[in-house]
Structure formats: structure tokens, C-alpha cells
């Protein structure tokens, strides 16, 4: 694809994302169409609800969709393995373990802290795992394939520890933990959104500036080294950057599957494998997918809501299968 065509693709996706955002901001349990808001004075309750409940949620879906898809794309690029996903290195399961601890082990906390406790816990958990991975990758023997094994070990350990915790938990705690594992954006409020934006946006930019280096890493470590890349350092930076994305996303929303695994695939298929184009493409597509899923999550079972992680898989799964089949047909013809 020429860069003109690629640019056209990206602009088309950006426009679609904005349209999706407008639509998502228009839908919800409250009848708050843009028209209603237009006619209501700014001090009105409907504005309060729209500004403090619906808008943060739409923006959070965009941010987290971008974070999940880009971190998946970086992981797949780093490990040169199309099956890598944000959960691969155990970051999500580290966060999960911390959340399980927060839910099941009772600590007396001031109410304001108790409210944000699962989020804080998840962030600390993902940070601890990220630091573990970082320090391991600094060791001379820490090549990437070995790192993958570390990730698998961390996943297994955290999984077992969560198992032990659920084993001693009561029904309510177990249910809360299960729901956390399906993801939800209902914690979208300006404070959490601001923190997310401050962590995610700079990280996305930092990753984008390393897109060319990530392309060269696809040649293999030795060739990339001869092309003048500091391989170890680039790998380490990209690892930590994508871990930061995953950690932030998991803290705010719990585990939302599928976005990080599949969106980068689809983008490679549509835009080719040049990360300079594929990364922003993944960001836009991830945002669109999560926006659609969350809008459904909060409107399908009004006045209740569904876990959004179920919907990302339910929407994304069939579409992904169709794409694979279409590709297969193309090869056979």
C-alpha cells in the first residue's frame, strides 16, 4: 500500500471513531440526545448527568481501547509471535491477584480509599510484575524467549494464588472477583479518567516514536543490531511502555479480553505490517471496538449493565473468524 492509501485508511478510521463517539454519547439509559442537551440550560440536571457519567465513560472506552490494542501490537511485534497478547507476561494476572487480595482480605480503610481500593491494588499489582519483568530483562541472560517463560511462571503463580483466595472467599467476594475478570467501565469518573489519560497518552506517543525501531526488530536481533539499533535497550523500553498501558487499563476496568489479541492482527491484514501505520491503526480500531462494546454493555439490559469483556469477545470473535475465512478463500482462489 502506498502511504497515500494508508493515510486515507487512517483518516477514514479516525472519522469513524469520532462518529462512534458521537453515537455513544447519544445512547444510554437516560434519554439524553444531543437535541435535549441543546435545549437544556447548562446548569440543568441532564447536563450534570451527561458530563459526569456518560462523557467520561465514552472517553474512557476510547482511551482503554487504544491502550489495549497498542500494547497487544507491541507485544506481538516484540516477540514476533502473532499469539502474544497483553496478558502474556502476567501483568493482568498480577493485577488480578492484587485485586483478589483487596476484595478478600479485609482491611479497615477510610471510605474514600475503600472506594478506589480495587483500582489502586490492581495498579500496584501490575507495577510489581512490570518491575519484575524489567529487572529480569536487564539480566544479561534475559533474552525474550526466556522472558516469555517468566511470564508464564508469573501467570501460573498468580493464578494459583487467586485460586487459593477464591477458595477461602465467601459467595459475594467470589462473585465480585468473577465480575472483575470480565471487565467493566462503570468506574469512569473524571478523576480516574484524568489519571488514565496522563498515563496512557504519553505512553502511546513514546511507543509511536519507536515504531521504526520496532520494524527493524522484526528482522531478528542480530540484523537489527547491524542496522544500528540498541536491541536490548529498545526491547526493554517497549516492554515497560506496553506493560504500563496494560497495567493502567486493567486497574481501571478489570480484564477486558480480545482487544489486544485481535485488533493488531486485523490491522496487519488491512494496513500491512509497518508499525508506523499499524500502531495508530490499532489504536483507532481498538477504540472503536471498545466503544461499540461498552455502548452495548450499558444499553442492552437497561437499567442494569453487562460486563464489557464478554461483549468485546462476542462482537470481535465472529468478525475475526469471518476475516480469517475470507483470507483463506482469497488464498484458495
Amino acid at each position: 500500500m502506498t502511504s497515500v492509501a494508508l493515510l486515507r485508511w487512517l483518516s477514514l478510521m479516525a472519522v469513524s471513531m469520532v462518529i462512534c463517539m458521537l453515537m455513544a454519547a447519544n445512547f444510554g439509559a437516560m434519554p439524553l440526545s444531543i437535541r435535549t442537551l441543546w435545549h437544556a440550560p447548562l446548569s440543568d440536571m441532564v447536563w450534570q448527568i451527561w458530563l459526569n457519567i456518560r462523557l467520561p465513560r465514552v472517553l474512557l472506552a476510547v482511551l482503554l481501547g487504544m491502550a489495549l490494542a497498542v500494547s497487544g501490537a507491541v507485544m506481538q511485534g516484540l516477540f514476533r509471535n502473532p499469539l502474544a497478547d497483553p496478558g502474556l507476561l502476567g501483568i493482568s494476572s498480577g493485577a488480578g491477584l492484587a485485586v483478589a487480595l483487596a476484595i478478600i482480605v479485609p482491611v479497615a480503610l477510610p471510605p474514600i480509599l475503600a472506594l478506589w481500593l480495587p483500582m489502586l491494588a490492581a495498579f500496584i499489582g501490575s507495577l510489581v510484575v512490570t518491575l519484575l519483568i524489567f529487572s529480569f530483562s536487564r539480566l544479561a541472560l534475559g533474552n525474550l524467549s526466556r522472558l516469555l517463560l517468566v511470564g508464564i511462571a508469573i501467570n501460573a503463580l498468580c493464578g494459583a494464588a487467586v485460586g487459593v483466595l477464591s477458595w477461602i472467599s465467601n459467595d459475594q467476594q467470589l462473585r465480585q472477583l468473577a465480575l472483575w475478570g470480565m471487565g467493566s467501565l462503570s468506574s469512569a469518573q473524571w478523576p480516574s479518567l484524568t489519571v488514565c489519560a496522563l498515563l496512557i497518552l504519553p505512553t502511546l506517543i513514546a511507543i509511536q516514536t519507536r515504531a521504526r525501531r520496532l520494524n527493524l526488530l522484526q528482522l531478528g536481533e542480530e540484523d537489527a543490531h547491524y542496522m544500528g539499533i540498541d536491541v536490548k535497550r529498545t526491547q526493554r523500553q517497549l516492554l515497560v511502555l506496553s506493560a504500563l498501558l496494560v497495567g493502567t487499563a486493567v486497574s481501571v476496568s478489570g480484564i477486558i479480553g480480545f482487544v489486544g489479541l485481535v485488533v493488531p492482527h486485523v490491522m496487519r491484514f488491512c494496513l500491512g505490517s509497518d508499525h508506523r501505520w499499524m500502531l495508530p491503526g490499532s489504536a483507532l480500531a481498538g477504540a472503536i471496538l471498545l466503544l461499540l462494546a461498552d455502548t452495548l454493555a450499558r444499553t442492552v439490559v437497561i437499567p442494569a449493565e453487562m460486563p464489557v469483556g464478554l461483549l468485546t469477545s462476542l462482537i470481535g470473535g465472529p468478525w475475526f473468524l469471518w476475516l480469517i475465512l475470507r483470507q483463506q478463500r482469497g488464498i484458495n482462489e
Binding site: 477461602i168 465467601n170 462503570s186 450499558r298 437499567p303 449493565e305
Partner: protein, 274 residues
């Protein structure tokens, strides 16, 4: 008759303020609202509110730990009566910020919680008289409990599909119920629900085993209870002293709890004579 007295009482009460639009969160809370005959103010309930049966006809706002702020606000409530168990919740905080009054109802595991719940809800719904009448009824039921403690060791077993069979330690609803009945929790030495272990059960030496109806079904009937690890070697196992209860009634500290606790005490007295 109970209904009638309540109706009379509410009819005699001063005309209340403008009708509230109430969202109720928590099975115990919803049941009390119905008992206070205030159900006409209810606009929605959560998924744990399944008693009385007509509550199921109301819109369901979902599970109490996964609520949707906009969904609740769309019902235009003026009051949210929420069990403490739904807290801490960012969603309820958002609802409160949008100007809806959120009243928290205690979630304590003790018999004192019942009148407290009734009083909180009665006050919030301006039905103090009905609340007083209901509290009196509850106190009457509780008065059937002998005041002197009975040194009978009770083991409460919780069994749900896909989970280990658990014994109720201290700091649980079951522990509160057992102590309210003046009895001893055989597993009081350990906190929360703990997996049943053979030695632990034998050492706890319960005189009476209590299990919920659903739990009994999960285990596969009474015979299976005695084949649980270690149970055959306990006093309860030797006399086959088993009480099957409505788990929700015993553990929720709602309106059905006093009756369930009285039943528990009677069963313990019978086990004592064995």
C-alpha cells in the same frame, strides 16, 4: 390480619409527603419495604431482591456490586435504599452526586441489625408507625428464644455447585445466627468460611449440623452429609443430628431470620436430649 393492622396504621398515619420513587438494593431491604406496605413507591430493585414474589416484576438494576449509574438515574429515583453490602460503590457515589438521596442500611451479622434495618427504612420512607409495629412483631418472634445460653456446638455447612464445601467460622452470617440462638459455633476458632477438613471437623466436635436446602441438594441428600470428611466421627454424626434451613432466611438478618433462629434453637435443644 398482619396486613390489615399495618394498613390501618398507615391509613391513620398523617398524610405522608409527596410520593417517593425508591430503588431498593439488597434482598433484606426490599422485603422490609414490602412489609411496611411501601411497595407502591418502589420503582426498581437489585438482582438479590427476590422476596416477596411480586418484587420480581419490578425492573432489575442488576447485581449489587455491578450497578450502572445511568440506568439507576434513568428511573428518576428520589431515594435509593441500599444495603451496606453494596458498598463501597463508585456508582452509588455517582448517583448521590446527581442529587439522589442514598440511604445506607446496615449489613451487620447480628440480630440487633433487624430492628435497626426496619427503623432506617421506616424513617426514610416516612413510615415510622408501620416500622414500630413491624419491629414489635419481630421482637415478639425473638422473645420465643430462651435467654439462657445452651452449650450445643453447631456446625454450619455451606455447599454450592462448583465450590468446596465450606464451614462457617467466626465473622460470618451463620456465626451471628448461631450466637443469636444462644448456641456455640463449633468452628468459632477460625474466621470466615473455611474448607471442611477432616481433622478440623473432628476437633470441633459439633453436636448439630446445619445446612441450607440448596446446600443439601448440592451435596446430594442427607446421607451424603454424614459422609463428608470427619463428620461421621462427631457427636452430630453419631446421632445424625441435622437441621435443614432456608439459607437466605438464616443468614440475611432480614424478616425471616427470627423464625429461622428459633427453629435452630429448637433443633439444638432436641439434639441436646439425644
Amino acid at each position: 390480619m398482619k396486613r390489615l393492622t399495618l394498613l390501618l396504621l398507615t391509613a391513620l398515619a398523617l398524610p405522608t409527603l409527596a410520593a417517593e420513587r425508591v430503588v431498593s438494593i439488597g434482598g433484606d431491604v426490599t422485603q422490609i419495604i414490602y412489609a411496611l406496605d411501601a411497595q407502591q413507591d418502589l420503582v426498581a430493585r437489585d438482582s438479590t431482591s427476590q422476596q416477596p414474589a411480586q418484587a420480581n416484576k419490578l425492573p432489575n438494576i442488576g447485581y449489587m456490586r455491578q450497578l450502572n449509574a445511568e440506568g439507576i438515574l434513568a428511573l428518576k429515583p428520589t431515594l435509593v435504599l441500599s444495603s451496606e453490602l453494596a458498598k463501597p460503590s463508585l456508582v452509588l457515589q455517582q448517583v448521590a452526586q446527581a442529587g439522589v438521596k442514598v440511604v445506607e442500611v446496615t449489613g451487620k451479622n447480628s440480630i440487633e441489625a433487624i430492628p435497626e434495618k426496619i427503623a432506617t427504612i421506616g424513617k426514610a420512607l416516612h413510615r415510622e408507625d408501620a416500622a414500630n409495629a413491624l419491629t414489635e412483631q419481630v421482637q415478639k418472634q425473638l422473645a420465643q428464644l430462651p435467654s439462657q445460653p445452651l452449650p450445643v456446638k453447631v456446625l454450619f455447612i455451606m455447599a454450592h455447585n462448583g465450590m468446596n464445601t465450606l464451614a462457617a467460622g467466626s465473622q460470618t452470617g451463620a456465626d451471628g445466627a448461631i450466637r443469636s440462638a444462644g448456641l456455640v459455633n463449633a468452628m468459632a476458632a477460625v474466621p470466615h468460611y473455611q474448607p471442611l477438613s477432616q481433622e478440623g471437623v473432628v476437633a470441633a466436635a459439633p453436636d448439630l449440623v446445619v445446612v441450607g436446602q440448596d446446600g443439601l441438594r448440592t451435596l446430594g441428600g442427607e446421607e451424603k452429609v454424614w459422609s463428608l470428611p470427619g463428620l461421621a466421627l462427631t457427636p452430630a454424626g453419631q446421632h445424625h443430628a441435622l437441621l435443614v434451613v432456608d439459607e437466605m432466611a438464616l443468614l440475611s438478618f432480614g424478616l425471616d431470620t427470627p423464625d429461622a433462629i428459633v427453629k435452630l434453637r429448637r433443633a439444638a435443644e432436641a439434639a441436646k436430649h439425644d
